[in-house]
Symmetry: C2
Subunit: 214 residues, 2 copies
């Protein structure tokens, strides 16, 4: 599964899974999970450049990605963690002006979320390295200024709930990734800026992974 | 590419590409194309049963599917048809009540469009068999009553325009499918009903493909 960006077919991205982030965009806090799909053509590996499409305001959303290790439908919460093979640090890049327009019109979000390079990811993190995925810090700096610095302990819906919910609708397959939502602090990036992020266990100093994009 | 349901990674579904269909749902006719993504786990082959999720009103939308034969980004309209390997007849099944709710809230459409079995398809149709994809009839019967019977000549945006538009946002890959929108006559199906459809060249009697679902 270290090659999930090549073999995976689905990226399932959860919306508004952190209360403070829902509020910062003026959105209601959801009473049950919801999600959208991103194409796997949007994956980008560390060291590469994020595209800023013409006339777009592109926001970063740093997120914990859950990499699925085996196929399943209607997975009970109690068994959900056995479907997890590992994790990645991810950015759910969003053309915010296009998303705002889509929301107003009741249109799908797919275009605003789906440009090539709009899902930058770290290398694969084996499950063993993160004993408790609800106790992890995700941080992001834009040109060395910290913009996001949140803990997965603030996730509204936890990973087993998300796996249960998504798999009640669509079969999960080996290599699929669930993006679990972003903590507060989203904001724009502009051409030429450097985006750097990391993931570490809470109360630990060292990052388990880092990534950097132009 | 006859195995596009196994190897393909993206299903890109165009919304409101027939004026009469946009009107029947009370929607505005779009001034440029828009689309949403469906997961490949929603493919269903002829002879199988379409799931009706609990508390859902599930509508049929019969559509021409375009099967992509090679990878490309920013494909010019003039070269677009060389990226087409063939076609399929498809249903873009839609949990209409969930979609209506999503539209009202400005939420993504992915759940309402993404259940397993929500993209029933025919077998692969090699490109040679359809000289002019803008001159094809798509029909659908529910329990032997004709509900949809439209011609692709009524598509608002033609295939080269769609390929150019989609590939300006995301790379198209071999095995990807573009669903080109539905003509008027969409409506609900209920458990136990039989859905039968076909695709034929205009002014020809024989179907090139047929499919049937429970
Ligand atoms: Mg969507
Ligand atoms: Mg996000
Ligand atoms: Mg449709």
């Amino acid at each position: 599964m270290s090659n999930f960006t090549k073999t995976g077919k689905k990226i399932i991205a959860i919306g508004r899974n952190y209360v403070e982030h829902a509020k910062e965009l003026g959105n209601a806090v959801p009473s049950k999970p919801f999600f959208f799909l991103k194409p796997t053509t949007s994956y980008l590996e560390s060291g590469n450049n994020i595209e800023i499409p013409k006339d777009s305001v592109v926001h970063h959303e740093v997120e914990l990605g859950v990499v699925i290790g085996k196929n399943g439908r209607n997975i009970p919460e109690s068994e959900a963690m056995s479907y997890v093979e590992g994790y990645c640090l991810a950015l759910d890049m969003t053309a915010r002006n296009l998303q705002d327009e889509a929301k107003k019109k009741g249109h799908p979000w797919s275009i605003s979320k789906g440009f090539d390079t709009f899902t930058p990811v770290s290398k694969f993190i084996p499950k063993d390295l993160i004993r408790d995925p609800n106790d992890v810090t995700l941080w992001l700096k834009v040109n060395q200024i910290m913009t996001q610095n949140g803990s997965t302990s603030d996730m509204l819906f936890k990973i087993p709930t998300l796996i249960n919910f998504v798999s009640s609708i669509m079969k999960l397959e080996e290599g699929d990734v669930i993006l679990t939502g972003t903590p507060k602090g989203v904001g724009p990036i502009f051409p030429g800026q450097v985006v750097k992020g990391g993931l570490k266990l809470n109360n630990h100093a060292d990052n388990i992974v880092e990534f950097e994009f132009g």
